[in-house]
């Protein structure tokens, strides 16, 4: 390492052999980032909480109203409806990518030619610009000219209205979200599969277990921690999902696909009701934290019961 020898003579002025050598402080490295984080992450948060206590509309004077903005939330039918949409959208957008992502990971765990390249192709949906792919999905959803209804007709299924029907708009958007984010689950589970030792598989083979039994009783329990992480990340992203929904439906038809995030956009930047918007942002954040805590709790419960089950 030539760099080390390069570095030593330059620092001779620092030598004070009598003084006890202490490990240096690393604070100077962190301070610039700390300033940035304070400015763009901490400051907005503090300001948001303060604003949520004000009646603050663009163009009119601000008035301190205490918790009034928060008390308005449960009586706002659009907000309550948006919570429902968010929860159903999130549940589907966590479960479907988990299932498909795990299956894809099992396949990508095998060895085959051009695996790296194909994996690169497979993760393209999640790296592509969301607005650009939303645009193409909008064309594919088109009831008369869209390619999806053509594909349905090929297998003899009736044409759908997709995102233009309030009853099917959320499942249709989940289809896009699943297409987009299954690769992330695949990558995380693939990392889990790579960490599994070979021995359990060898002994299962000796015992004559079939493919399904191996997957159910060896692979699945061992990748559980990774599935949990993937589910957690997926949950956080699905709750916050904005680009796809906004670019394809703007929350419509009517308000059938208006999630909390889309409603927050309307309140803050269409109606310019910044105080109320800030209250929604705070509650929205707390909802995500609560969902994450719920997942952690479920995981503990599951671990506990499965341990009991194995002892019995």
């Amino acid at each position: 390492m030539s760099v080390v020898t390069q570095a030593s003579p330059a620092a001779a002025d620092n030598a004070a052999p009598a003084r006890e050598w202490r490990p240096p402080s690393y604070w100077p490295f962190v301070i610039p980032a700390l300033v940035v984080v304070l400015a763009v992450i901490i400051f907005p948060w503090v300001f948001t909480i303060w604003m949520s206590l004000q009646e603050w509309k663009v163009g009119s004077p601000t008035v301190f109203v205490g918790l009034a903005n928060y008390l308005r939330l449960p009586t706002d039918p659009r907000f309550v409806e948006a919570v429902g949409h968010t929860l159903s959208y999130t549940a589907l957008s966590v479960l479907l990518p988990l299932v498909f992502g795990t299956l894809a990971a099992v396949v990508f765990h095998q060895k085959f030619a051009a695996r790296g390249f194909l994996r690169g192709i497979f993760i393209m949906p999640m790296m592509a610009t969301p607005v650009a792919i939303a645009l193409v999905w909008t064309m594919m959803f088109h009831p008369q000219l869209g390619v999806l209804n053509y594909l349905l007709s090929l297998v003899g299924l009736p044409a759908q209205l997709w995102v233009f029907n309030p009853a099917t708009v959320i499942p249709s958007l989940v289809l896009v979200e699943t297409w987009q984010w299954t690769p992330l689950v695949m990558l995380i589970v693939l990392g889990g599969l790579a960490a599994i030792p070979n021995e359990p598989y060898e002994s299962a083979q000796i015992d004559g277990a079939n493919f399904w039994q191996v997957f159910r009783f060896i692979t699945l329990p061992l990748i559980m921690p990774f599935l949990f992480i993937a589910g957690m990340i997926r949950m956080i992203d699905a709750v916050k999902s904005f680009d796809i929904i906004f670019a394809i439906t703007q929350g419509g038809p009517g308000s059938a696909s208006e999630t909390i995030n889309v409603y927050l956009y309307s309140v803050a930047f269409v109606y310019y009701d910044l105080g109320y918007g800030s209250a929604i942002a705070v509650v929205f954040f707390l909802l995500i934290v609560a969902l994450a805590a719920l997942l952690l709790y479920l995981r503990k419960r599951l671990l506990w019961t499965s341990q009991l089950g194995s002892e019995a």
Partner: protein
């Protein structure tokens, strides 16, 4: 080569085909839409390979709508936001890893959980007050919300795995902390720098939500410009698809070329901004 092995290989390739086809077919269809004249795009059943290829869709995009302005806006915003994030984030990742200050990662976690729109309300007011709206500065600053946590998070992970012995040796030889960082730690962490840089570029380039609020007519980035095209030319699919493909093509190329770094970064931190 027993038949069972061959059967297994066929099954494997079949599953690979099924798994990869939604991605491949989608992007091929996108390319097909962008290369067809309206008469082919509006025909039913859909035409996959057109008789006449409409290269003019691409020419139209570059000629109209100030596309080149928006392209350079995107380059400036992503370039500055990523550069600044590397500048402050890489040393920070180093400092946090060496101080073992794992609690500070909570801030990054909060940044990861917070919806992008929540940053927008206060920062929008701040930029308005500072009179910065109408320039690219607000977007560069707010993109730091995306890029800085990605860089810090990935660099913490990398510096934690690099060996300490070399750094200790250099310190005992009398090198300053800064020299140790610059000449010992940084060269070893070069793969990590690449991962952090690539992911920060991609997620900043793709960002849409900050632009729709902060960008004016002259300061739109490409995703916002494409979104605005939707409302104007609802029915000319060819140029729209061409524009969409141009916007996302750099990212797709980067994904296929640097898939190893991207996979490493995403599985290590699983970060995504906004």
């Amino acid at each position: 080569m027993n038949p069972r092995y061959i059967l297994g290989r066929i099954g494997l390739w079949l599953s690979v085909f099924v798994i990869v086809s939604p991605a491949i077919l989608f992007f091929l269809w996108m390319a097909s839409l962008s290369l067809k004249f309206e008469i082919d795009n509006a025909s039913y059943p859909p035409v996959f390979f057109p008789e006449h290829i409409a290269w003019k869709n691409y020419a139209d995009v570059f000629a109209s709508n100030r596309f080149l302005t928006y392209f350079s806006n995107s380059l400036i915003v992503t370039g500055c936001a990523t550069g600044l994030a590397m500048l402050v984030g890489v040393p920070a990742g180093y400092g946090i890893a060496r101080m073992a200050a794992h609690k500070s990662a909570i801030v990054i976690l909060i940044a990861r959980i917070t919806p992008g729109l929540s940053y927008l309300i206060p920062l929008f007011l701040l930029f308005q007050w500072l009179g910065l709206l109408g320039t690219l500065v607000p977007q560069i600053i707010i993109h730091l919300v995306v890029t800085v946590p990605i860089v810090i998070w990935i660099m913490i992970g990398y510096f934690e795995t690099t060996p300490l012995e070399l750094e200790e040796a250099a310190l005992i030889d009398g090198a300053t902390r800064w020299q140790v960082f610059r000449h010992v730690a940084l060269p070893i962490a070069r793969p990590g720098l690449a991962v952090a840089f690539i992911l920060a570029v991609i997620f900043s380039w793709n960002n849409f939500v900050f632009g729709i609020v902060l960008a004016g007519r002259e300061t739109r980035t490409l995703p916002v410009a494409v979104y605005n095209m939707i409302s104007f030319d609802q029915l000319s699919w060819g140029p729209l698809a061409a524009a969409a493909l141009i916007v996302t093509a750099p990212v797709l190329l980067l994904t296929v070329m640097a898939q190893r770094q991207i996979v490493a970064g995403l599985t290590a931190g699983a970060v995504k901004g906004g």
